[in-house]
């Protein structure tokens, strides 16, 4: 019993930092509707800045004073980021801002490496709080007790801020109804900046507070962001009490998981999230997101049309060029084009559900990697001929998507996104931990194409045929009744249902189709690289696709393909440089700010404007 209680205390202590970071994220989302992926970066900055300040400050103020100052400093950084990066793009399509925050992550990672170097830093101890107190005979670190004691004060302070101050009134109003804040005559821009700064400060505080239990390192940002999103979603996006309950829930469950199911450490929290979302689609204390509530901002989409003669000629010319490429290009260019085609198909498949269906998936890598694994497993374990195994890739990924979609489709918005993420993590952990079948992260190797395809030129044509074929097929479907029905369900689910369209069913089928196409991309991928590892199922892989779709332009048909090609080329070039993450981050931020409609969307608008002014001139 004493042991049980000690475990519970460990969980509570862990919940402290988690709650601080999560409450910041939740606040930011609640008010600005920004899904801030850079939140982990503020946490990391908090840790590094905390160490620096603790070194600098003299005497008795050094530890606790440094923590408060760190919060202030990180809050300031957050305000700058909000003003420089996010403020220009609030009018961009929903969730577009997350791409910008991804750019911020990359920039902060490299800046931190430049400033603080690569080595891990051990966090200073809190003065006078080294060692343990015995509670019922069990040792409990003193600092744990302090953390447990602090958390309610933080919760109370936040509650006071939200419930009792003018800022709090505005925050609550904005969380409920953004238009109302504008109507109250409040400067929305400064409210957003203030909330973003507050949220960042909380993350920074969290980073500084955990120092006596750990330290600062360059992987902290990614390592916490998953847990933070899980907490915010389980609690209900925008709900502070929800974030508190969820932090405690996750932390305590983790502690018991470590003891009674030591292998569960990778997935436990995602399993919990999936269960919570299936039972309560909007988290424990969240409220339903009404479709379109966050404003269909930005220019409305124009009706789509298949390419006219000029467009067709352009596409044909491009394809001819690709077909002739082996005649004059060096082998590596072919490899690069295969990579590009694979990524373009993967992105196009995500774009299909995201653009036409309005379904933002954070877990699309499950189908890409799923397809790759399906083919690889067949080859590895049964020696199936490559041709057959290859066909199995889209099939298996499609089936997987049917299974996952069945749970996810009933959710909407960010909750849908997070449930897809949870499932993709489950698939990842399966590949990672089921070592007897998948070889874990040793991966499946020696998965090469059949002899007649093994060579850069034959495989190039193979990849081109299936990759481009897949992309064209998806395009065709978008122009077919099914694609129209998918868009109808996105534009006005109410009208669609009232005219006999089963919106959820249409979305379900589209989700499966997108999964199959991602699996096809995975199939092309695995035989081009000869191996597959769980990295292909990682969250990062899902976000690669998400980012290029947004960069290319969500409200365009070519966005995914163009974004993927752009990113493949830019990245291939940039990674040769020392500080490529900094540069890539800046490129992403620049594209986001300069081209809020994405590359294709902005070019199209520009083109129309030019043509229009031409006509006027005539």
């Amino acid at each position: 019993m004493a042991f049980f209680f000690a475990q519970f205390l460990t969980g509570l202590a862990n919940a402290a930092a988690l709650f601080l970071v999560a409450s910041g994220l939740s606040l930011i989302f609640g008010v600005t509707r920004i899904v801030n992926f850079a939140h982990g970066s503020f946490y990391m900055l908090g840790a590094f800045i905390g160490i620096v300040l603790m070194d600098l400050l003299p005497g008795h103020v050094d530890f606790w004073g440094a923590i408060l100052l760190t919060g202030l400093a990180v809050g300031l950084i957050g305000a700058v980021v909000e003003m420089v990066v996010l403020r220009p793009i609030y009018r961009a399509p929903e969730l577009f801002q997350l791409v910008a925050t991804f750019g911020v992550i990359l920039v902060i990672q490299d800046l931190a490496l430049m400033i603080w170097g690569a080595e891990d830093r051990l966090g200073p101890r809190a003065p006078g709080l080294r060692g343990v107190w015995r509670i019922f005979g069990e040792p409990v670190p003193k600092y744990d007790i302090v953390l447990i004691a602090i958390t309610p004060f933080i919760l109370f302070a936040l509650w006071y801020l939200i419930a009792r101050t003018r800022l709090g009134v505005l925050v609550r109003a904005a969380t409920q109804d953004r238009e109302m804040v504008g109507a109250l005559g409040v400067n929305q821009a400064w409210l957003f900046t203030g909330v973003f700064a507050l949220g960042s400060a909380l993350a920074g505080l969290g980073g500084a507070l955990q120092l006596p239990k750990g330290g600062a390192d360059l992987l902290m940002d990614f390592n916490i962001i998953g847990a933070v999103f899980v907490v915010v979603v389980i609690g209900g996006m925008g709900s502070l009490p929800g974030a508190f309950i969820a932090s405690v829930l996750i932390s305590v469950l983790n502690v018991f998981g470590v003891t009674y199911l030591p292998q569960s450490t990778l997935v436990l929290m995602y399993v919990v999230m999936a269960v919570v979302l299936i039972v309560r689609p909007y988290g424990l204390l969240g409220r339903e997101e009404v479709a379109g509530e966050h404003g269909q901002v930005g220019a409305p989409e124009t009706p789509i049309r298949p390419y006219g003669p000029k467009g067709m000629a352009l596409v044909a010319a491009l394809l001819t060029l690709l077909a002739l490429l082996p005649a004059f290009a060096e082998p590596f260019v072919l490899t690069l084009v295969v990579d590009m085609v694979v990524f373009a198909l993967f992105a196009a498949s995500l774009h299909f559900i995201l653009g036409s269906g309005g379904l933002v998936s954070f877990g699309h890598a499950a189908f890409f990697g799923g397809g790759a694994y399906a083919a690889a497993l067949l080859v590895y374990h049964t020696g199936t001929p490559m041709e057959l195994a290859f066909l199995f890739a889209p099939l298996a990924a499609g089936l997987l998507a049917l299974g996952i979609g069945w749970f996810c489709i009933r959710l909407t918005g960010v909750y849908f996104a997070m449930l897809t993420l949870a499932f993709s993590q489950l698939v990842w952990s399966l590949a990672f931990q089921w070592r007897s079948v998948t070889r874990g992260d040793d991966g499946l190797v020696n998965i090469w194409p059949a002899d007649w395809l093994n060579g850069s030129v034959p495989y190039y044509y193979f990849a081109l045929a299936f990759g481009v074929g897949g992309i064209l097929f998806l395009r065709h479907v978008i122009h077919a009744p099914f694609g129209y029905a998918l868009r109808a369900g996105r534009d006005s689910p109410r009208q669609a249902e009232a005219t006999g369209i089963d919106v959820k069913r249409v979305q379900f089928v589209a989700f499966a189709l997108a999964g199959a196409m991602a699996g096809l991309a995975g199939g092309i991928f695995v035989f081009s690289k000869g191996s597959v590892f769980p990295t292909e199922l990682e969250i990062a892989k899902s976000f690669d696709a998400l980012i290029v779709v947004f960069l290319g332009g969500v409200k365009t048909l070519a966005g995914g393909v163009v974004g993927a090609s752009f990113m493949t080329v830019v990245e291939d070039w940039l990674v040769r440089l020392e500080y490529w993450r900094l540069l890539l981050g800046l490129v992403i931020i620049a594209v986001v700010i300069v081209m809020p409609e994405g590359i294709v969307g902005t070019l199209r608008t520009l083109w129309r404007r030019i043509r229009h002014s031409d006509e006027e001139a005539v």
Partner: protein
């Protein structure tokens, strides 16, 4: 039986608040019937329960003798009920005619078809529907640039695609110029007459209501306080009480 719609004791409560409290009425075949009442009387809630967007707390709805209570909107649509909304719900990313084509694809059960080009499908048929609502000249404009009144007419065309037996129209003329209102309601009246469709509509504009409705129902605080001809309703003291605190002027009172 000559009733197309029969509603029995329909009830909806939200957290103890009764939005609709035991409403019963019927709509006859070929009838153009209005449901009026002040803001918050429960008209839209009522409509949403008829069409399946909301589940009633109690009561029954019968379409042509068949029970449709609590069925989903698309099932009710399948049985022959078309609907337009108070706040239009058109497909913003499509052109005007594509909106109609979409409804026709659903009507012809082609939703899951991936072979044909959608914009070529049922185009002529869609034109006819647009023509019915005098929108043919705007067929290829993006839906997102339409004036509000045009959106209302487009929605009517969409609702007609499945050849409904009953049309539910929530504020069909809201946001339109007075002349356009008369035009639209004349159009609806023609449809009722020519195609034998029954129409139940809510409306704020009393001119429209009294000029076109065969019968009028008045809803107040979730309860039906009158159901009858224009004259009967106009002379009903309870209705007068609700509308002008006892005054009699509601002919001139267009947008009360």
């Amino acid at each position: 039986m000559s009733e197309i719609l029969r509603v029995e004791n329909l009830r909806k409560s939200y957290d103890g608040f009764l939005a609709v409290n035991g409403v019963s009425f019927a709509v006859a075949k070929g009838e153009l019937k209005a449901l009026i009442g002040p803001n918050g009387a429960g008209k839209s809630t009522c409509f949403n329960m008829l069409m399946g967007q909301l589940k009633p707390s109690a009561g029954e709805v019968y379409l042509d003798g068949q029970r449709i209570t609590g069925k989903r909107p698309r099932e009710i649509w399948r049985r022959g009920v078309g609907r337009t909304f108070q706040i239009t719900g058109t497909y913003q990313s499509m052109s005007v005619i594509e909106n109609v084509q979409m409804a026709l694809m659903s009507h012809h059960k082609r939703i899951f078809s991936i072979a044909p080009r959608a914009w070529k499908l049922y185009r002529d048929e869609a034109f006819e529907f647009l023509d019915t609502v005098s929108m043919a000249d705007q067929a290829d404009r993006p839906c997102s640039v339409l004036a509000y009144g045009d959106l209302k007419r487009l929605e009517l065309a969409i609702a007609l695609c499945h050849r409904p037996r009953l049309l539910l129209m929530d504020e069909p003329t809201a946001g339109m110029a007075p002349s356009a209102r008369i035009e639209l309601m004349q159009l609806v009246a023609d449809i009722v007459r020519d195609q034998g469709v029954s129409v139940l509509f809510t409306e704020h504009d009393m001119d429209v209501v009294f000029a076109h409705a065969h019968h009028i129902m008045v809803l107040n605080r979730g309860e039906l306080i009158a159901d009858g001809s224009a004259t009967e309703v106009r002379n009903n003291p309870q209705v007068q009480e609700v509308y002008l605190g006892g005054g009699t002027l509601f002919k001139e009172d267009a947008n009360a």
